[in-house]
């Protein structure tokens, strides 16, 4: 077994040289996760906004389900999708199993409840802040949705970053539905798992460093946004 300093050194070399395998894996990972975030945004933001502003029968139940789904075990999602997409499954004809599309679907299922739930909480707080004013102005709820979403944009962006963080770090579901096929469905997390088991620790470490960098960047960006937000509130107070 190599010593850890040489592993780190080789890992950094791979990154510095922009190793073609490494770049391909990173790009596919970003493509899958960003697409999942985009699809989730389209679904989750309107759902969260409606749940945050309208009172209707079953609203509490839906919010409860969304909150529960935030902790959805990825391997279970992977297994369910595997059963659906496998040849004998109900969606087998779509030939999605072991494709990046299946991985996008898995990640979308995992992060949509997170983004929807965070959106619902943000918009509900904001709506309560304005509720009496909206009544005084006679503003119908549907006419307040877009301005509320705009006012909440920084909080919503952090919700998207949280979704991206979860998606990019996900391994259980994508390894089941993607199959970790070289040059087809191999993403950072699944490659790290595979290469570690094979003993190819340099590539695994290089990908780990990139994954950590992405994760730290996302966290830093979220903190910067929150800082900017509280700064702005102080200025406006």
């Amino acid at each position: 077994m190599q010593d850890s300093s040489s592993i780190f050194l080789t890992a950094f070399q791979l990154i510095a040289e922009l190793d073609s395998d490494l770049v391909e894996i990173v790009l596919l990972s970003l493509q899958v996760s960003l697409t999942a975030v985009l699809i989730s945004t389209i679904i989750a933001i309107p759902v969260g906004a409606v749940l945050g502003t309208y009172n209707f029968r079953g609203r509490g139940f839906i919010i409860g389900v969304l909150n529960a789904l935030m902790g959805l075990p990825p391997v279970v999602v992977g297994l369910m999708l595997y059963l659906m997409f496998s040849r004998s499954g109900p969606l087998g004809d779509l030939n999605l199993l072991f494709t990046s599309k299946a991985m996008i679907i898995a990640q979308t299922i995992l992060i949509t409840p997170i983004i929807a739930s965070l959106t619902q909480q943000t918009i509900e707080d904001l709506y309560h802040h304005h509720a009496e004013q909206f009544k005084a102005l006679g503003a119908a709820t549907h006419k307040t949705l877009l301005p509320l979403l705009w006012d909440a944009r920084t909080s919503l962006f952090t919700a998207l970053l949280a979704g991206f963080g979860r998606a990019s770090a996900e391994v259980g579901a994508v390894i089941i539905v993607g199959g970790n096929i070289n040059h087809v469905t191999r993403v950072m997390t699944t490659t790290i798992a595979l290469e570690t088991s094979k003993g190819n620790l340099e590539l695994a470490m290089a990908l780990g460093i990139i994954l950590l960098t992405i994760s730290f960047s996302v966290t830093c960006l979220m903190m910067l946004i929150r800082h900017h937000q509280s700064d702005r509130k102080l200025r406006l107070a």
Binding site: L137, A139, A140, P147
Partner: protein
């Protein structure tokens, strides 16, 4: 602004509002016509703000009727508008906040630009049109609140202690703008516990105490010789 007030007189019959077993508004009967400003006076907790919210349809009465010129209109009627003690605004420009109200009320697009400019001019906000509404001072925010009312061209303007947090100069500016509404034949119904302000603005006083209307009289008469003991105590600054 309208020359005749289509929605007055306001007739309140046996109005009652109960909440958690307490009767907060007790059997109010009132007849308010379109002449001049009606100021609702009373201590904190007298039910002044509640009465305004009932009149605007923000909350529904437990029993009784509120009729505007003989009919009971639905809520979300833009001929009347309510100014809150603590108005809230979107984190957007002054202009956007006014445009939002125009949009909500479904004002004809062709009229919107003129109404907006008129409101900004009258309320002294033209230079602040691009400023974030939440960065304005308390006085400027209440003027923006009046501008929001102006763009709706209301027949009836309900104000819930709008100057409670303002200093005298800001209150003076506010009252000057309010005078413009009166000039435009908008009926003003305003709550306050500021006696000096009530004397300046009122044509008629509606005095409330513990959820009841104890007096409804011409302002000069009220201030010179109030009928009820509660009103006498209030004018003398005695505790209720």
């Amino acid at each position: 602004m309208p020359n005749t007030n289509r929605h007055l007189p306001l007739t309140i019959k046996n109005l009652e509002y109960r909440h958690h077993r307490s009767t907060l508004i007790k059997q109010i009967n009132l007849h308010v016509d379109s002449n001049g400003n009606s100021i609702i006076l009373g201590h904190n907790g007298a039910g002044k703000s509640l009465l305004l919210k009932l009149l605007h349809g923000v909350i529904n009465p437990t029993s009784g009727k509120i009729e505007w010129n003989g009919s009971i209109p639905a809520s979300n009627q833009y001929w009347r508008t309510l100014l809150l003690q603590k108005p809230t605004f979107f984190q957007r420009s002054v202009q956007y906040n006014l445009e939002f109200v125009l949009h909500v009320a479904g004002m004809p697009v062709a009229q919107r630009k003129d109404l907006l400019q008129q409101a900004l001019d009258i309320c002294g906000l033209t230079d602040l049109a691009e400023h974030n509404a939440n960065s304005l001072s308390g006085g400027q925010q209440q003027r923006l609140s009046l501008a929001r009312a102006w763009v709706l061209q209301p027949d009836v303007l309900l104000l819930d202690e709008p100057t409670v947090a303002l200093d005298p100069p800001a209150s003076q500016v506010f009252e000057n703008i309010l005078y413009q509404f009166k000039q435009s034949h908008t009926k003003v119904l305003m709550t306050t516990h500021d006696l000096a302000q009530a004397k300046r603005l009122a044509d008629e006083i509606i005095f409330m105490d513990k959820g009841e209307v104890l007096e409804q009289r011409d302002a000069t008469e009220f201030f010179s010789a109030p009928d009820s003991v509660a009103a006498q105590n209030f004018l003398q600054g005695k505790l209720a």
